[in-house]
Point group: C2
Amino acid sequence: MKITEAEATALATGLLCDRGAPPAHAVLQAKVLVDAEMKGHPSHGLQRLPRLIRRIEKGLADPATTGSGQWQSSSFFSVDGARGLGPVVADHAIATAIPRARETGIAIAAIHNANHLGMLAHYVEGIAEAGLIGIALSSSEALVHPFGGTRALLGTNPVAMSIPVEGAAPFVVDLATSIVSMGKVHHYAATGAALEPGWAKDESGQPTIDAGLARAGSLAPFGGAKGYALGLSFELLIAAIAGTPFAPGISGTLDAEHPCNKGDVFIIINAGTDRQNASRFAAYLDAIRHSAPEQPAAPVRVPGDGARDRMTAARLQGFTLDPALHRQLLSLSTQTAQAQP
Amino acid sequence: MKITEAEATALATGLLCDRGAPPAHAVLQAKVLVDAEMKGHPSHGLQRLPRLIRRIEKGLADPATTGSGQWQSSSFFSVDGARGLGPVVADHAIATAIPRARETGIAIAAIHNANHLGMLAHYVEGIAEAGLIGIALSSSEALVHPFGGTRALLGTNPVAMSIPVEGAAPFVVDLATSIVSMGKVHHYAATGAALEPGWAKDESGQPTIDAGLARAGSLAPFGGAKGYALGLSFELLIAAIAGTPFAPGISGTLDAEHPCNKGDVFIIINAGTDRQNASRFAAYLDAIRHSAPEQPAAPVRVPGDGARDRMTAARLQGFTLDPALHRQLLSLSTQTAQAQP
């Protein structure tokens, strides 16, 4: 079924407000989930909302808090998320760190004890809107095997980066260091499609193209040994900076039973970019877009172009939502209504 | 032929001192080149020395300067390298920024107008020795095509990261975002070996396994669309932070005709890691090393393990140097001797 941005946002916001989220927190959490849908990444979209609602109901997520932050040193903002909503705690930390970065040239915010962030692009887009360069890292449960290994020992360890470009949308990348997302594997399992060879191993460590078996196994890092090296570096950076566990000790982003103990890191840089530089950026990115493609029918893309095109289309035409998920969300809404006097 | 670390270092140091390098600068530049040889990366080793010597003789590299730095803001150190040797300017900038990072939690150093850095691992190893977390980025000439493209528009854009681990060697990664280095392609061309499919395109943009044709063409990014996205992000980050050109406008790391106008960026983080965390790191990395491998005979490696093993072996047994390169270096030494009164 098709749903509009306004309908989806109202539905998600209502469900969160009904569980005690202040309206501003509910709107922000809803926006992050709906934006992921519109960008074409449903694995980070509304399918996460029923779990988040269970987490709120169980006290594993506190929709009212912005966390408790302190400046560990003058440019290092350390935040105990106090079980808050990921986007609420992170946007608050970033908003606190931005003026410091603007003044000193660079600042860092590290968060522990907050819930799932959703797509990292949201956070670096916010930093770029402030005219600054952003880098975001977040850790997760163990889902990825080492290059040459067979056991899930690393998180999917996404990274996002943004660079503001004057007079144009910022350059934004947001990617996991796994070859595909576990959300995609679940989608393949649901539709009975086979995985591509090399994507996953089963629980016993054998290569598999059976999405059902892969769910209990592990994903490959993207890009072989180099992607593994990057993913492991991000794993260690986050653990060292946020003081959080490594992937095998992390829970709470994929379940409704455990506190969320992953870590999030945001680096914010004020490079004092002048206008000339910014127009130069747009010209370089356009030179890439207009360069000779491998396949004449497939022009070269700049990262972020596809997500932006899908977002624009979804703003006009709405986006596709799984009817079962829609019914589930409506039933959660009804439960709330029935529970009220 | 085999050469020892001491012999190679003395040879390189002597050549640089003879061209006016202060002994400390000559020793540092020699160490960076010889370390690359010992780690098994001759593309960043002594084969770069004859070119560097020509650059010094032509005034494109000034072996005496440490560059001219200023604090653009309290945690952003901006350095005009003044055509200095890459390692000399960068180590000086890092040494200046480390106390600031230690005090404030994070600092950044950005360099333009310095010569080639060699392997980035050196710089983040130095940061880790100071007990801090390091991230290093450096831009280069256009050698890499976009994913889905055919033209060399991106640099090889390497990244290095280090995390100190108490009571053990630091965790260090250092990798280019191209699928292989152009140095490796040159090596294949010299030995007549075929490239692997997918590594490179020729000058006209066609896929090629002919290393000779690939030299005038372009390399693939590693890891498909994701590696391309990362490489392009680093390209833009460096240009925005150091104010340097994009790859198509860069020269001076592969020639002896042009000033070197690439950029270098170092981010230094003081996370205040406590001892407990550090031993936790070693335990996690060991769990990865001892996890079930894909091939029973090939244990899972942690990035940096191979380079460290090769370094240890080379310290004991010396390393292999191309006899033609050795003769060339000796002849440069003789020329100096003859030129002296």
